[in-house]
């Protein structure tokens, strides 16, 4: 499985760092940066909105209809929707999209005045948020449900207020899970491919698309190994994220079981 070492080799088998050096190419650096900020932005927005939804679900019966439906929807959107999400957003804010048309006809507001951005990196923001929020709901809900009602009651008997409760007890207790989930969301966006691939047939604004180009390129031979280097780059980023995640968990273990 770790035949990704191909990144270090050229086609003829000789060991070389040329491909790794190619990672320093400004174009490629730019795509990494794009991937990073895109992932960070959608992760933060997804985390906050997702947390709100989780909060709204506190106290709902776990075996009730509302919960089942939310779980199923979250599952579908978070994990199985890549290509279809792309379609959905084309239908929504594409050139002939529902919202685009409505905004243009009803409000005289043309969102594409400065060029069509749906098919480039900024266009990925909305679709990504669309699956980040459900993912957040899936991974964060258990944490919220682990909040014990006794804490809220004890807080009240000791003279605390609702705001005080969240400030002193709720948020601190939830912080590790929240950060962990945030990191997970980041990793998810960073490695996501399907939606971008479906939306952009040419151009490689984010790293996974660069890899696609490298793998399927017909013009330059030996590019498969560039793909390996790119993959290596991705793995490095993921490894950093995962170790941060482990760090956060370990700090929380100070007072958790």
């Amino acid at each position: 499985m770790l035949a990704l070492w191909s990144g270090f080799f050229q086609r003829d088998g000789s060991f070389t760092l040329d491909n790794v050096a190619a990672l320093g190419d400004p174009v490629i650096v730019r795509t990494f940066v794009t991937s990073l900020w895109l992932s960070a932005l959608t992760a933060v927005v997804g985390a906050v909105v997702g947390a709100l939804v989780c909060y709204a679900l506190v106290g709902v019966r776990p075996d009730g209809a509302l919960r089942s439906v939310v779980d199923a929807i979250s599952g579908v959107l978070a994990q199985f929707g890549g290509v279809m999400l792309a379609f959905a957003f084309v239908a929504t804010i594409g050139i002939q999209g529902f919202v685009t048309v409505v905004l243009r006809d009803q409000f005289g507001f043309n969102i594409y005045e400065n060029g069509v951005w749906l098919y480039e990196a900024p266009g990925l923001i909305l679709p990504y948020i669309y699956f980040q929020v459900p993912l957040m709901v899936i991974v964060f809900l258990p944490a919220l449900q682990a909040l014990k009602p006794q804490w809220a009651e004890a807080n009240a008997t000791l003279g605390g207020t609702t705001a005080g409760f969240w400030l002193r007890i709720g948020f601190p207790v939830l912080a590790p899970s929240f950060l962990g989930s945030l990191l997970l969301l980041f990793a998810n966006a960073f490695s996501s491919y399907a939606t971008a691939a479906a939306l952009t047939s040419q151009g490689q604004s984010i790293v996974p698309l660069q890899i696609r180009a490298a793998l399927t390129s017909e013009t330059v031979l030996g590019r498969e190994n560039l793909a390996g280097a790119l993959a290596l780059g991705m793995i490095v980023v993921m490894a950093i994220v995962m170790s941060l995640y482990a760090l956060v968990q370990r700090r929380a273990a100070r007072w958790q079981r």
């Binding site: 014990k148 006794q150 009651e153 008997t157 000791l158 003279g159 605390g160 007890i169 007072w255």
Partner: protein
């Protein structure tokens, strides 16, 4: 200024007056009235579902009352939110804040009241000392045993010197041995601090052991309130007699102001009981082994006998099929199948209609 300083004691009289609480499909409290004198330790005792926890929670403000009054220090607090009622509460479990150390947990209520840090730390330390956990101040909840956690919870509730202390089955989740030790400690501390206390439990032995007075609840109402001795020896109903302590149910006749049980005349607790067929409720220690010579003794066959350390309980069956349990000293150890003779001591009994 120590915690036990009388001048800082703020115990207050507490009363529930005709409190009603309804849930969908169920009336949890059906006009409950209960008074606690300042510094008194009252146990609220009853089976699951009788409403005792609801009563406590209504007093705390964690549930709202549909009707009635709740008086703390003679002020009706029915509309006062929980965090302004100046109460201390110990929950059954899970109530310690997991991300704070033991000391920080105990300081929490003082922090809410705006006490400066130095004073806070000192008071919390004193309180931890009082419950014997001063060496655990920097630990976290999950590092403590169940008994230790409840002691921290107790310290946390008491350090603010609330006007009333509420305990919601604080010992139910603990091991038997820890339970006994901790309940005595709770009583000791409470006596020292003199805080009016309401203690909810389903364990009658616990209630009798620690409380000044016990209120027995059933189906949303208080059946009887009295000292442990009163409840035990003068239960006013079948339910109370059955619930508080063991008792044997023996068929009897009420004739001329006494009960006739197995041919023996026994005085009644309630002298005005109507004549007729009844069940007499006889305590195990009120049935003893006797000799043939004793006119009141009757033959019976031993069914089982259990050794309980400091005493023995033996179950016997009379010739008419009625079975009773005797409680007696350890030295006498009849074997199953043996024939013995038993009689009643003659202490007054409660009766219930058949």
């Amino acid at each position: 200024m120590t915690l036990a300083d009388p001048s800082t004691r703020t115990s207050a009289p507490v009363a529930l007056v005709d409190v009603v609480k309804r849930f969908p499909g169920l009336t949890a409290l059906d006009g409950v009235s209960l008074e606690l004198a300042p510094g008194e330790f009252v146990a609220l005792l009853g089976p699951s579902g009788c409403g005792k926890t609801t009563a406590l929670r209504v007093l705390a403000g964690l549930e709202s009352a549909d009707d009635g009054h709740i008086l703390i220090d003679e002020r009706d607090v029915v509309d006062v939110p929980t965090n302004k009622r100046d109460i201390g509460m110990v929950f059954q479990s899970y109530s310690l804040f997991p991300h704070l150390t033991v000391a920080e947990n105990v300081e929490f209520g003082l922090r809410m009241r705006g006490m400066p840090t130095v004073d806070r730390r000192q008071r919390a330390a004193d309180m931890l000392d009082m419950v014997g956990l001063d060496h655990h101040a920097t630990r976290f909840a999950h590092q403590l045993s169940g008994g230790q956690q409840q002691r921290v919870a107790l310290a946390r509730a008491l350090v603010t010197q609330p006007r009333v202390l509420l305990l919601d089955e604080p010992l139910s989740a603990l091991d038997a041995k820890v339970r006994v030790g901790l309940r005595d400690e709770i009583r000791r501390i409470q006596t020292e601090l003199g805080i009016t206390t309401l203690f909810v439990t389903h364990d009658q032995e616990e209630a009798l052991a620690v409380a000044d007075r016990v209120a027995v609840m059933r189906s949303g109402r208080i059946e009887q309130i009295g000292t442990p001795e009163e409840l035990y020896s003068r239960p006013i109903s079948d339910f109370v007699a059955d619930f508080v302590g063991l008792s044997n149910r023996m068929p009897a006749e009420v004739v001329g102001g006494v009960a006739v049980i197995e041919g023996q005349q026994v005085p009644l607790i309630d002298a005005d009981a109507a004549p007729g067929s009844v069940h007499a409720l006889v305590r195990p220690e009120d049935i003893v082994f006797a000799s043939e010579a004793d006119a009141h003794s009757r033959p019976a066959v031993v069914v089982t006998t259990s050794f309980l350390g400091s005493l023995r309980r033996t179950r016997v069956r009379f010739t008419d099929g009625v079975e009773v349990t005797l409680q007696h000293e350890v030295s006498h150890a009849p074997g199953p199948g043996e024939t013995v003779r038993v009689r009643l001591t003659g202490r007054p009994v409660a009766v219930s209609r058949v």
